[in-house]
């Protein structure tokens, strides 16, 4: 049995605006999402802002009722057996809110240990282990208001794990964390995976998803548009190679010409520090580098690299097609 089964989940929101003449607007945030998560798997849910990731998660963690469709976790229905579901899942979202600022880290954890009914005699050891896991040992007596974002995020993860949940939901855990903190966070998630925890992760960082996820689903405007291992996604979408050319001005005007070159599937411009990088996806087996460069004739070029497609290439193609 899969640990999580979501079947045709849908959720719409009605929002009203205007004081006197009320306008009602109906948004379909999630439009029929079906997927399974297997035990021990890290499952990535990727998609652009507003795609419906958080809404999907809220339905799974029992904070929102689905408009239609169903989902179960370890056989418990997220609507009918909400309390049983809550006992078995942990939930962590990104950002620095959601903690009791005036309490110490330890008291924050103790409070949630009570709410998750962690037996009194196990609490101390459990909290100690988790503080160790997330690297906050020695800081637990301090008030959370003095914590950095990274520390808060790690405290959140410890909170999500207090009751040793079977399934952990991490909604953009790396939001606003510096590169070193993000790397440590990835290590923490990787070590949870080695311990056999099942995790549903959302992130906007593709390398993070590539590194951590066993399987990924891409959601766009409330619908799943692809699902598979990171390797499968890379293959399925861009069955070819990618050419990256750093340019210094004027590349936007040449896009038409580049796209006209045979075997060029797509071309996008990525603005980086000093250069604008032209990213060109090519059909597999084709070598049209010379033709592409010819199309750019006359504008200053920097580094030219041919590489294998990354998950980000696959993602960009999936959500923009």
């Amino acid at each position: 049995m899969s640990i999580l089964e979501a079947r045709d989940l849908r959720r719409s929101f009605t929002s009203t605006s205007g004081m006197l003449r009320r306008h009602r607007k109906e948004t379909e945030a999630v439009k029929g999402v079906t997927f399974d998560i297997e035990r021990g798997e890290v499952f990535g849910l990727l998609g652009p802002n507003g795609a419906g990731k958080t809404t999907t998660i809220k339905m799974l963690i029992t904070l929102l009722l689905p408009t239609s469709g169903s989902a179960s976790i370890l056989g418990y229905d997220v609507v009918d057996d909400a309390r049983e579901v809550r006992r078995r899942i942990g939930y962590v979202f990104g950002g620095d809110r959601g903690l009791y600022e005036r309490l110490s880290a330890l008291d924050n954890l103790r409070y949630f240990a009570e709410l998750y009914a962690v037996p009194a005699r196990e609490q101390k050891a459990r909290i100690g282990e988790l503080l160790e896991l997330v690297g906050l040992s020695g800081r637990e007596g301090e008030r959370v208001e003095g914590f950095s974002r990274g520390m808060r995020q790690r405290l959140h993860i410890a909170r999500g794990l207090l009751h040793d949940p079977d399934l952990l939901f991490l909604d953009e855990p790396s939001l606003g964390i510096d590169p070193v903190g993000a790397r440590e966070l990835r290590q923490t998630i990787a070590s949870l995976r080695t311990q056999g925890k099942t995790i549903l992760l959302t992130t906007h960082y593709m390398f993070e998803a590539d590194e951590l996820c066993d399987r990924i689903a891409v959601i766009r405007q409330g619908e799943l548009v692809a699902e598979g291992t990171p390797a499968q996604l890379k293959q399925r979408v861009t069955a070819g190679s990618v050419l990256e050319i750093d340019t210094f001005g004027g590349v936007q005007d040449r896009l038409e010409r580049v796209l006209a070159v045979p075997h060029v599937r797509s071309a996008t411009v990525d603005v980086r520090a000093q250069a604008e990088t032209l990213v060109v996806a090519l059909d597999s087996g084709s070598d049209v580098t010379a033709a592409v460069l010819a199309a750019l004739d006359g504008i200053p070029l920097g580094r030219v690299v041919a590489r294998e497609p990354t998950l980000e290439d696959a993602y960009v193609e999936l959500v923009s097609s």
């Binding site: 904070l63 309390r83 809550r86 899942i89 959601g98 005036r102 309490l103 008291d107 009570e114 009914a117």
Partner: protein, 266 residues
Amino acid sequence: MSARFIAAMRVLFVGGIISFRGLFNWLNPYIYVPTMLVAPIFQVLLFAYIGRSAAVANDAFYLVGNAVQYASIPCLFAMANTIAGERWTQTLGIVLATPANRVALFVGRSLPVIVNGGFVALFTLAVGARVLGVTIPAGAWPGVLCAIAVASASCTGLGLLQAALALRVRSTAVLSNIVFGVLLVFCGANVALDAMPAWMASVGRVLPLTHAIQACREIVAGSAVGDVLGLLGREAAVGGVYAVLGLVALRFVEDQSRRRATLELQ
């Protein structure tokens, strides 16, 4: 005892105390002393002197009425904040995603509020008696304590109902201020129920504090606790009804938020 029962009891007591501290540490001495310990003395003095100049009732009448009525400041404001304050800390979603028993969760938060409310009333009564020169016989204090405890608990019941409303309307202070004013006028703190128009007296009888104030006055005047058990029982019943309404309302708000996303939970 089942594990589930023990867990609920721990949420009630241990959880209640931790979360009260979490949402109320701002009550540092610089805020606490003026609002909770000094302001009520002003209120007592104001009404006692109005009473003296109008020669309607003695000092003890106003002292007891206002000291007990002032418990509604901590009971209403603190109760609403310990629940509705979760919207500002954005912890509500995380709390509601836990399997914790909701009755224990919310009622637990009321326990420290009740203790604090009782302390404020008792302090005001003791200091006010000194200032006005009202003698409260030593033997009356246990009964006074008892009446104040019931008053504080029953007013916190109303606070619980108000907390549910505050969650929806996103403001706790507006509502608490209004309810405080209603209590000040209707619960007989300064005008005896007999002296009010009938409709006002009937409103007073379904509000918390009214019966406890009356009981407390009788105790201070020499009655035994046994003689005012009826009043205290009615006080407790009124508070109990509000508390149950509050729990039902909180349940309703939680249901609505799952259905219609009304609490923008994280």
